[in-house]
């Protein structure tokens, strides 16, 4: 996965409007994006609250897919557009309090539940942070798609600026890196505001196992 920061100008999304190659009458003819989307809609079925509208791409999803497939970086304009839209989606905590309970945050970080058709509809989702990030010394089963967050608060401090940045990163990661692989935990409604506060506490509380290697999760 490439993440597009500020990149030089590049060709725009040609594929979406390129004509299909084959024109045979059978169902699977052609290769343009419209054909692919129609094919995908016919290839999946709905279950519970997981509907076919999950195949409808947002402008961001479409732009990122094309850039990643073609290897052509996004244009400056595209990056700016995605970042601006993402930033506008970020809701800072209504009461101005960024930090909840790190113990609850650790549970959110461990849980990969949520929004799959095999999950109970409406049940609280997890953040599954450990799937991609190292966070604590005690949890050795962590992924490496994202950077290590070990000692996150201890290294960065906890002034207003870094708290706001981190909140927005969790809420909608595209605000700071367009086409990030990280889900938009706030903007997409995966985690609640209270859950994000708990994850924030896990990252910033000096007593949490992220910052204190001797702390017990």
């Amino acid at each position: 996965m490439k993440v597009f920061k500020i990149e030089p100008l590049a060709a725009l999304l040609l594929l979406a409007c390129a004509p299909g190659v084959a024109s045979a009458a059978d169902l699977a003819a052609g290769t343009d994006l419209k054909t692919v989307v129609a094919e995908m809609k016919a290839s999946f079925s709905e279950r519970g609250d997981v509907k076919l509208d999950r195949i409808d791409q947002s402008a961001m999803q479409k732009a990122c897919s094309q850039a990643e497939m073609t290897g052509k970086p996004l244009s400056k304009e595209q990056v700016a557009e995605i970042a601006a839209e993402a930033l506008a989606s970020v809701k800072l905590p209504a009461d101005g309090q960024y930090l909840g309970d790190w113990k609850a945050g650790e549970k959110v970080a461990q849980s990969g539940k949520g929004l799959q058709y095999s999950d109970k509809p409406g049940a609280p989702a997890g953040g599954n942070c450990y799937a991609c990030h190292q966070m604590t010394k005690s949890e050795i089963s962590f992924g490496n798609i994202g950077p290590s967050l070990l000692h996150y608060g201890a290294v960065r401090g906890s002034d207003k600026q870094i708290m706001e940045y981190t909140w927005s990163k969790i809420y909608n990661s595209h605000a700071s890196s367009a086409c990030s692989a990280m889900p938009r935990f706030g903007a997409a409604g995966i985690l609640t505001e209270a859950q994000i506060k708990d994850v924030m506490a896990l990252l910033f509380d000096p007593k949490s196992p992220v910052n204190d290697d001797t702390a017990k999760p």
Binding site: G30, M60, M69, Y117, S141, A188
Partner: protein, 272 residues
């Protein structure tokens, strides 16, 4: 009866040697290596399912009381040897590009007179259940390509289109998590937790991954097919339910197979 006994043996083997119980394996790959050692050289509980599949292939079944010996997997009627390594492919009789499973379905319906909906409904076994007829047949056909280089045909326009669409599907970001296949499978050296994620856009890891599926999944005590693999991936992507044998599944398989071209088939594999 013989079929049930064979599968029962496979289940017992699978359950008694769970890699989860192995002492502190550093990665999933290490755990599987230890498990393989315990089974003995080349051991795989799927071998027994393969034998069941061979019996099923030759058995007269369905309302037409026919075996699958007239089924053309692309190498001629009844030819199983090396067929899987040359799939998916375009079939003139159906006018479609098909993977092994959609082709078997086609043969079971058209040659044996079986009910498509029923086959699809029962295609995948539950955790710890006996292998389904489809799983057994897949195991048999796949094992007959053991050691054969992966070489899906791209000579026909339908086949090239399937690859092109499969590529777009692989990179298609969607759903509430914005994931595509590429999110996890287009960078070398990535892991989810301790699970290694093959970079399926690179020849080396694509060959290794593709050649080892279908595979016996130890944690589930079942032979899992490529259709199962893709369905479960899409589930984790938070997408809806992938239909069995759907065009999307076939196109994506074509993309993966072409990327893995030249690798030697080593399936059924053995997975965590």
């Amino acid at each position: 009866m013989k079929k049930q006994m064979l599968t029962a043996i496979a289940l017992v083997l699978g359950a008694s040697l769970s890699p989860l119980s192995l002492a502190q394996a550093q990665t999933t790959a290490d755990g599987i290596a230890q498990y393989r050692e315990m089974l003995g050289e080349g051991g795989n509980p799927a071998d027994l399912i393969v034998m069941t599949g061979q019996e099923l292939w030759n058995e007269k079944r369905g309302s037409k009381n026919a075996s699958l010996e007239k089924c053309d997997l692309g190498m001629g009627e009844g030819v199983v040897k090396d067929a899987y390594a040359h799939m998916p492919r375009y079939f003139k009789d159906s006018g479609r590009v098909m993977d092994l499973e959609s082709r078997l379905l086609y043969c079971m319906v058209n040659l044996q007179g079986m009910d498509a909906d029923k086959i699809i409904k029962n295609a995948m076994s539950g955790s710890g259940e006996y292998a389904t007829d489809m799983e057994s047949l897949v195991g048999y056909v796949v094992s007959e390509s053991h050691g054969t280089p992966i070489d899906p045909p791209q000579g026909d326009q339908h086949e090239r289109d399937a690859y092109e669409r499969g590529k777009q599907i692989f990179f298609f970001r969607g759903g509430p998590y914005d994931f595509s296949c590429a999110t996890c499978h287009s960078t070398t050296g990535q892991r989810i937790r301790l699970q290694d994620l093959p970079n399926l856009t690179e020849s080396g890891p694509a060959r290794q991954a593709y050649s080892s599926w279908p595979a016996y999944r130890v944690s589930q005590g079942a032979l899992r097919t490529m259709q199962w693999r893709l369905k479960d991936c899409f589930k984790q992507q938070r997408m809806p339910v992938l239909k069995y044998g759907s065009q999307t599944s076939v196109d994506l398989t074509m993309f993966l197979a072409v990327n893995a071209k030249g690798g030697e088939m080593a399936a059924p594999g053995l997975k965590r």
